[in-house]
Symmetry: C2
């Protein structure tokens, strides 16, 4: 059984090909982590998620602390046993969703108090309690509690939230203690301000973490702002630790993140888009609700390595989406998660051979070429 | 490639063990047919349905004629290709759901006109058009159009509907013509009146069908009434043709139907119950919404041949049901369909060895013993 560690295998420009070892298995990076919000990647069996190529899942502390509750999950053997996923799980700190979902929230130096959006019951979340919850879930990669602002935001606000997040990082490190079989990641904040970001990174480095998350991006700012912040920030992060861009994104966000030195990504987008009839392919995005697919016997992509892209006609998928059948959500979620993994696999191979620029250019050209012409 | 045929393999009292051959494969009887309402067994991939043991699916003519439309399905290669199910499909005539779902319906000697419950558009359904639609869908086992009344009903009404259904049976037979690779079933009507039922059966036999459906049961009457009608009716049906009890039922309805000489069953109940948190096991029905399961680490049934009954805790399934996660509908639909197939497999084996009475008694005793005691 291996402890948590990160190995850098190859670089190509700022991009990195790496491997994370954990007691529950390896994670090839750059990695996309499907989101299993409340103990399930929506509309997928765990073995179907694994079969798309996912090495690791994400679980949401906020959702799980409300239902079924961290102590309950622990009594039932931890989140892996609970959801029958034996490979690594990363958990967030809960802070982001407290800010976006919970009611009557109040932030103090100590932490945040809030009421559940489900039944109004009251909760406290402190840096220490967040670590405790994530440990009860038996998470393999734990996040510090931080304060994440939406952008645009005032400089003063960004500075205050970044400084608070740093103090919480310090408390999180103390609370986490020495647990070599799992990892604690600090979270860089500082909004769209390079100086604040660098200061945040320096503060976290001096505390020392197993990995560095980049929070507070993809929160309302243009993609170019996100890419600028990433390019300014990642050189400031330790080369020998993984970097995780939280909550990102669409395929082109991920490709751009990889080019700027990010190792890990997560997003609900592929499964949510699938439930709404949108699928991602090497030719870009397809809206299966569109009437152009109604009589189209062609599959999504007959050259795809994914059987679901070859076996069902567009007409059938259109029909499932229009009739709001659960099978539509199942198939389209699978297609999107599979495509995200294909994108990461391609990037990993390209970085190893020093050809990421070509891979990225070809990938973007295919996206730009668009879907098949109408039937 | 075999034409449609039925072979009676063994009998045990009134119960029958048989085999239906079709060009798309064998159907072991007694058979339970999962319902793929609108071109999908809800929340299941076709291969998952097959893996539960299903030899044949049912498709609903009413739903499919509205969306995506029979001519469209035909242009796309038929229903089997459309939904990627290569084994046999039975279709109903559409009549039952016109009566239960459609708006502004008007019944005449000629047929029925109605408006779609989805968008109000107008349709005609005659015995001839129903055969045409089912042929466009490329159904393997086709039903005549009939008029199905809810019970209780006036004797005069039951007689009128039965006589109309007989005249429609005759027109259906003419419209169907000679198609040995598929089957046309006549439908016995006559409500809860033995004399009318026998008269209906005699009329259908004199026309001559590949199989005999029993319609107009499980439409509001007590189970004992249904069982009485079955016991009176099945001796009047040809021994060398399959008998199909339409739209039935719960496991104890199916066991009772098998004991009274029925060969085929279909019902939305197992998948619908699954979507509502109810699962069927050899110990009866379990309501997973119930708080007693909240902390229960035990699986549904650790001795079940179905992996989904062994791998997930009751606490996890309770959580999925409470959070209304799609995976809950997926797992519980699968568990129910699997249990229905186990029930039919057990009955088939028992009939072959002349032990159906023992099998039925043991099955009912286990149902009566109830679920595991609380954790």
């Amino acid at each position: 059984m291996k402890d948590f560690s990160f190995s850098l295998i190859a670089t190509d420009g700022m991009a990195r090909r790496g491997r994370i070892d954990t007691p529950r298995g390896e994670i090839a990076t750059p990695a996309f982590m499907p989101v299993g919000t409340v103990g399930t990647v929506k509309a997928m069996y765990p073995e179907q998620v694994r079969a798309t190529g996912a090495d690791i899942l994400l679980g949401n502390t906020y959702h799980l602390m409300l239902r079924p509750g961290a102590e309950r999950v622990a009594a039932l053997g931890g989140l892996h046993t609970f959801m029958d996923w034996e490979r690594p799980i990363l958990t967030d700190s809960g802070g982001f969703q407290v800010m976006s979902l919970a009611k009557l929230r109040k932030l103090t130096e100590q932490g945040v108090t809030f009421r559940s959006h489900i039944d109004g019951s009251a909760y406290d979340l402190t840096p220490e309690r967040s670590i405790e919850i994530q440990t009860l879930l038996d998470s393999d990669i734990i996040m510090q509690l931080d304060e994440c602002l939406a952008l645009p935001a005032e400089h003063k606000e960004m500075e205050r939230a970044m400084e608070l997040s740093l103090r919480w990082a310090d408390r999180s490190k103390t609370a986490f203690g020495h647990q070599p079989h799992r990892a604690l990641f600090g979270i860089v904040q500082g909004g769209d301000d390079a100086e604040l970001r660098v200061k945040s990174a320096a503060g976290l480095k001096s505390i020392g973490f197993d990995g560095y998350s980049i929070g507070g991006l993809a929160v309302g700012e243009p993609q170019e702002t996100m890419f600028r912040v990433l390019a300014e920030l990642t050189p400031e992060l330790p080369a020998d630790k993984p970097r995780y861009l939280m909550g990102v994104g669409k395929p082109d966000d991920i490709l751009g993140g990889i080019e700027r030195g990010v190792d890990m990504f997560d997003c609900v987008h592929p499964t949510r888009a699938g439930r709404h009839g949108h699928v991602y392919t090497r030719f870009g995005v397809i809206n299966l609700k569109n009437a152009r697919h109604k009589d189209d016997p062609r599959p999504i992509d007959e050259a795809s390595p994914n059987p679901n892209c070859r076996r069902f006609s567009r007409a059938y998928l259109h029909h499932l989406v229009r009739t709001e059948e659960i099978l539509g959500a199942m198939i389209l979620s699978q297609i999107n998660l599979h495509y995200y993994q294909e994108l990461c696999i391609g990037a990993r191979v390209a970085i190893e051979v020093g050809a990421l620029a070509d891979y990225a250019a070809q990938t973007r050209a295919a996206w730009a070429s668009g879907d098949l012409p109408p039937h």
